[in-house]
């Protein structure tokens, strides 16, 4: 968590609810994440969103550790502001711009799960429509056409909006890195983990991550785990 994060407790509760696992809040000054199987960058307004969303958080000491975790193949999930931080850090391509309608939107939206081969979607059905809330003013995904084509080709567009909610190119709501172990998405799965929240569809994202880790958590090895091998196989 960073100064200005505000979804950190929600993320911890969501993870505990979904997996029963322990989850610790780690301050941005930490420089070692070796003890953890997965890292979640929560939503909020890190450093007041000054300059650009995520632009300052990117230089936090903990981000060097997040980068090492990603390089080691650990799961890294960036939610909302966490997604913005991951793009600013170049752990994910593209950028997130002001919504095309200039409104801050906070509502339950429908997403399409593009495929279930990623560590984050093992527990979903390919093509399934799920309901997860968004809560952002700057979530319009942008990248140049070549990057967008490559994301599509490699199966790295993991979640798409069913409606036009912010003007995101190709309705992109969440993308994977090349290796498939880093996911950034604007919607908040941690806000969809109980019936009273209006949806429980976020539970399975954390369950997927847990299953992936307990099954060995090896993406590069591909064939050995999971339903259909690693996302690195694309398609």
């Amino acid at each position: 968590m960073f100064p200005g994060s505000n979804c950190d407790e929600d993320a911890v509760k969501g993870i505990r609810t979904a997996t029963g696992d322990a989850a610790d809040l780690i301050w941005h000054t930490a420089d070692n994440l070796d003890a953890y199987d997965a890292v979640v960058l929560p939503g909020g307004f890190s450093y007041g969103d000054y300059l650009r969303c995520g632009a300052i958080a990117r230089f936090s000491p903990v981000m060097a550790a997040v980068r090492r975790a990603a390089e080691a193949g650990k799961l890294v999930l960036g939610i909302c502001n966490g997604f913005q931080i991951l793009t600013e850090s170049h752990l994910l391509p593209g950028a997130l711009l002001r919504n095309e309608h200039l409104q801050f939107r906070c509502e339950l939206v429908e997403l399409v799960v593009e495929h279930a081969r990623s560590p984050f979607t093992l527990a979903y059905q390919p093509g399934e429509v799920i309901r997860i809330p968004i809560s952002h003013g700057e979530g319009r995904y942008h990248a140049d056409e070549a990057v967008l084509d490559e994301l599509e080709r490699a199966g790295r567009v993991l979640f798409r909006y069913r409606q036009r909610v912010n003007g995101s190119l190709r309705d992109i709501a969440g993308i994977l890195n090349e290796r498939g172990n880093v996911l950034g998405l604007m919607p908040h799965p941690e806000r969809a983990v109980a019936a009273w929240m209006g949806s429980e569809d976020g539970l399975r994202m954390f369950e997927s991550m847990r299953r992936f880790v307990t099954d060995g958590g090896l993406l590069a090895a591909g064939a050995g785990h999971g339903a259909e091998g690693g996302v690195a196989h694309g398609g």
Binding site: L51, A55, T87, E88, L97, L102, H142
Partner: protein, 104 residues
């Protein structure tokens, strides 16, 4: 040597600017005809200490590339001005230096 630096950052032409669009429509509503292509950007000032203008220029360019501008969506331009010894409030006699324009 101390330089006064002015940096402008704005969205690349290929990126839709909803703020500029909203302002453009407001101007049209107010009756201003012939006003178009409104783009909203950021303006930043800073002071840079360096041993030469080339060194200051290199430092500012790096700062723009690394921090102030996100080249995925933005572009930038800056100017350096030698801060005069008694140039309080700018506009002094320092050499106006229209400097680098970022990649488009």
């Amino acid at each position: 040597m101390r330089f006064d630096v002015r940096v402008r950052v704005w969205l690349k032409p290929s990126v839709f600017d909803p703020q500029g669009h909203a302002v453009e429509r407001a101007l049209a509503t107010l009756g201003y005809e012939g006003v178009g292509r409104v783009r909203i950007g950021k303006y930043m000032e800073m002071s840079v200490e360096a041993s030469s203008e080339a060194e200051a220029d290199a430092m500012v360019r790096e700062i723009c590339d690394r921090v102030l501008c996100n080249p995925v969506m933005e572009t930038y331009a800056y100017e350096l001005r030698l801060a005069g010894p008694d140039a309080a409030g700018g506009g002094g006699d320092g050499l106006a230096k229209p400097a680098g324009v970022g990649q488009s």
